[in-house]
Amino acid sequence: MSIQFKSIVELRAMLDEKSISTSELIQESFELAKKYKELNCFITMNEESGTKKANAIDQNEKGSSWLSGIPLAQKDLFCTEGLRTTCSSKILSNFIPPYTATAVQKLEDAGSITIGKTNMDEFAMGSSNETSFFGNVHNPWKKGYVPGGSSGGSAAAVAAGIVPAATGTDTGGSIRQPAAHCGITGLKPTYGRISRWGMIAFASSLDQAGPLARTAEDCAILLNTMSGHDLNDTTSLSSDVPDFLENINQPIDGLKIGVIKEFNLSDLDPQVQACFEESKKAYEALGAQFIEISLPNISASVPTYYSIAPAECSSNLSRFDGVRFGHRAENTNDLNDLYIKSRSEGFGDEVKRRILIGTYALSAGYYDAYYKKAQQVRRLIKNDFDHAFQSVDVLMTPTSPNTAFEFGSKGTQNPVELYLEDLFTISSNLAGLPAISIPHGQVNSLPAGLQLIGNFLREDQLLNAAHIFQKNSDHHLAQPDLGDF
């Protein structure tokens, strides 16, 4: 029986019934990765050590946890000890970390097997995976189309059924938007729910790790393992971690869902809009009620984000200087020359653009007008959400204004065009709130995503609402035809 397109829950059952061994499972996962090499999901494979671990599990395993022997892919910005970690950048193309990120470590400690590191937008800066030094990732649903970004490789690997789930990170939509474009489920948890230790920083106050999987149920399994306070990340939350899997079968009768007044959906592609209306009806049929709610400052989300995120990135990326690790230019005259050449050669255009924007936003004389102002607006946006959650349980929006688009069709002339991809996703990063994207239909044979935004630490509500939806629909079961790859 093929493992392709199987969920964690299904693979767990196969392993427990011994209809497949861990080694066979992992072997097949590696073979699928090779078969669909053209998708370009992976930058580095972990074949030797992954195979070894699978054999060890087959020999030693007694009781089995949910994740024991389950193949996973890790976004290539999680540091993995001894396994190259590039952030899809030339500047880290030779970087082999001496330590493992907490989120990945927890997944591996629970028995999962990392089969490889996935392609992404360079330093997670992008919404189409087109900024990678290692080339574009194809959307498994249509060759030559973007998978979304920045966690494009992770989303495509799950959508193509190579792995049941993968890790991603989400700074402005980087889990949810590729999940939407690839027709899978992706969760961005509350800021601080999962440790950032070992996650190469883009924008520290916005970055959050999370799972991409075939179902909300699988997302709950991964979130259970990945969550929790980490002494190495003092911004990680010390709040209790409930059993998310245990809590996903609650009735949603009476669930109050807010629809944001300021997002004028009639501007969208009518088919995207139609999917949204269908999903509203589906939720209503399950007993939820809809309330229109106003978030007066939410329209400022994109400019606010594009002041704060580049500012933090301009500082976070200063350590890539060619001195201690990563790419170092040759034939340099002095220290300044070493910096200029190493960074000019090492970073791609989008990363350079954001470093420039951020440096400008933080510079003397502009700080108050940009960075400080943006932080103040961020506070207002957060207050809007706090206010909204006094009258609703979750908020609902499309994940993205559109579905996947063709390589090179967006943002090449005007980067802002691509920045608007993040319109619906960015505000939950600014407010630190959890949000999930689930597939809810197709537009021209390409998946469309539905976003649910939850209150602080209420991933349980999101996962429950998503799971109930998936129990009563089959959008998440749709599989791409991979005949072109």
Binding site: L77, F78, C79, T85, C87, L92, F95, P97, P98, Y99, A101, R196, W197, G198, M199, I200, A201, A203, S204, S205, L231, N232, D233, T234, T235, A311, E312, S314, S315, L317, S318, R319, F320, D321, V323, R324, F325, L335, N336, Y339, T359, L362, S363, A364, Y367, Y371
Partner: protein
């Protein structure tokens, strides 16, 4: 024209925490290059800082000692600039909300007291070290110092001479060592300062244009660098020219200050709040604990030494002025009861030795145990004070115990009456002429007899016993 000097000092105190400000790597001085370095200190991708609260406790102790306001909620900010020994490309420091605000330090110069106000004191991490001259054509980076906690103490521009600046730094040194905030070792860079110097016409209200002399690390250099800078600026002003605001370095080999290359300081540091750290909150309980465990300060010790051990005001002040000396005194007190002899030795022989060697007592081979033993042997008349001095030299050289020296060299004092009487009788018998002269009234000859007895006993006879018996026999 008479001129007036205005000086403000930024003092960098390296805090004596065991580990770094944001990592658990050791701060020990003198380790091989790049060994006291972990993932955080070398700024690897994906690492995050964690605050070392001990550094906060030390900063708060300093704040309390200078009567400052303690900000129980304080924030870290990033100061961005590129340099090869700054691993992250930014320094984590405190800009908007420092841990210590205000306070003051009293300095005494020529017996006059003056109060220098403190603007603020904030915590920050130190950078690593660049080594430019050891590898042909290459610079090397040692990150052992990277991340070491510093307390930067900024004074108000209220210092008016190089001598006052030195007095301020000496007061600072005494305070931070007393508080166990820092080891105060200036040669190792644990205490250093930047001096902002400007000149104005006497009585003028406006401040003159200032220059900043960076990184001065000895009392001597502080005085010389500032004096050089004062003269330089006055000369410029007297020529009717203008002082350029700039950062300068003091070159001790040439005894001059000179401008740093403009590139080295023309930075826009792009400060912004450090997003990797939450605000640091110090609880009321923590504040109380720091207050309860507050160390005794020099003036408190001075009073106590006079009261408890009967030391003179002068002796008490000298011993209490240096933390290592006071610690030594208090440790030795556990082993001897002759307080006055102990303090005489500390102020006399021991201080003279330390001055000669230019070291502090904890850097010498002397321990409180062996010094107390020496005091006890003099006190119980096992040896004379004179023999004590010769033993002391050996103690300084080898750190050996007085008892062992006495035993191995047979230096016990002869206090046995009969033995001494026998020797005295020999001396009297052998010097009849002197005895006759003495008895005839030439009393000065008494010293001659004592000398003869000491000669025969190699100085070991108890002088008191000798005196008593001699007087008796020469009646």
């Amino acid at each position: 024209m008479t001129w007036e000097t205005v000086i403000g000092l930024e003092t960098h105190v390296q805090l004596s925490t065991k580990t770094k400000l944001f990592s658990r790597a050791s701060t020990a001085f003198g380790a091989s290059p790049n060994t006291n370095v972990n993932l955080i200190d070398c700024g690897l991708p994906g690492v995050l800082p964690s605050v070392n609260k001990e550094a906060f406790y030390k900063a708060i102790r300093f704040g309390m000692a200078v009567g400052a306001q303690i900000n129980q909620t304080s924030l870290f900010d990033r100061k961005n600039y590129f340099y090869a020994d700054l691993p992250k490309g930014y320094q984590i420091t405190q800009m908007d909300l420092p841990i210590v605000l205000g306070g003051s330090i009293e300095i005494i110069l020529d017996k006059l007291a003056k109060t220098i106000n403190i603007t603020r004191a904030h915590l920050e991490e130190d950078a690593g070290k660049s080594i430019h001259d050891e590898f042909d054509g290459f610079s090397a980076i040692d990150l052992n110092r990277a991340g070491t906690p510093l307390l930067e103490i900024v004074s108000e521009p209220e210092i008016s001479s190089a001598k006052e600046a030195v007095a301020y730094m000496k007061a600072m040194h005494q305070l931070v060592t007393y508080l166990d905030v820092s080891d105060g070792n200036m040669a190792q860079g644990s205490l250093r300062c930047d001096a902002n110097v400007s000149i104005r016409k006497k009585g003028a209200k406006e401040l003159g244009t200032r220059t900043e002399i960076k990184n001065i690390n000895s009392f001597k250099f502080i005085e010389k660098a500032i004096n050089f800078e004062i003269k330089r600026q006055i000369k410029i002003l007297e020529n009717g020219e203008k002082v350029t605001q700039e950062t300068r370095l003091y070159d001790s080999s040439k005894d001059e200050t000179r401008p740093m290359r403009s590139k080295e300081f023309a930075n826009d540091y792009r400060y912004f709040p450090e997003p990797d750290l939450l605000p640091v909150i110090i609880s009321d309980e923590e504040i109380k604990k720091i207050r309860d465990e507050f160390p005794e300060l020099p003036n408190e010790k001075e009073t106590r030494y006079q009261k408890e051990f009967g030391l003179s005001a002068y002796d008490a002040q000298i011993i209490a002025s240096s933390k290592p000396m006071a610690d030594f005194f208090e440790a030795a007190l556990q082993k001897t009861k002759n307080y006055s002899l102990l303090s005489n030795w500390l102020i006399g022989e021991i201080s003279a030795y330390l001055n000669k060697e230019q070291i502090e007592i904890h850097e010498s081979k002397l321990s409180a145990d062996i010094v107390a033993m020496l005091i006890n042997r003099i006190d119980d008349q096992t040896i004379s004070g004179k023999i004590g001095k010769s033993i002391f030299e050996e103690m300084c050289a080898n750190g050996s115990s007085p008892d062992e020296i006495i035993k191995s060299q047979g230096l016990e004092q002869i206090s046995d009456d009969e033995a001494i009487e026998e020797i005295i009788l020999t001396v009297i018998n052998e010097n009849p002429a002197q005895v006759e002269a003495y008895l005839a009234g030439k009393e000065k000859l008494f010293g001659f007899f004592v000398g003869q007895v000491m000669k025969l006993t190699e100085g070991k006879a108890n002088p008191k016993t000798v005196n008593n018996i001699l007087k008796d026999k020469l009646k």
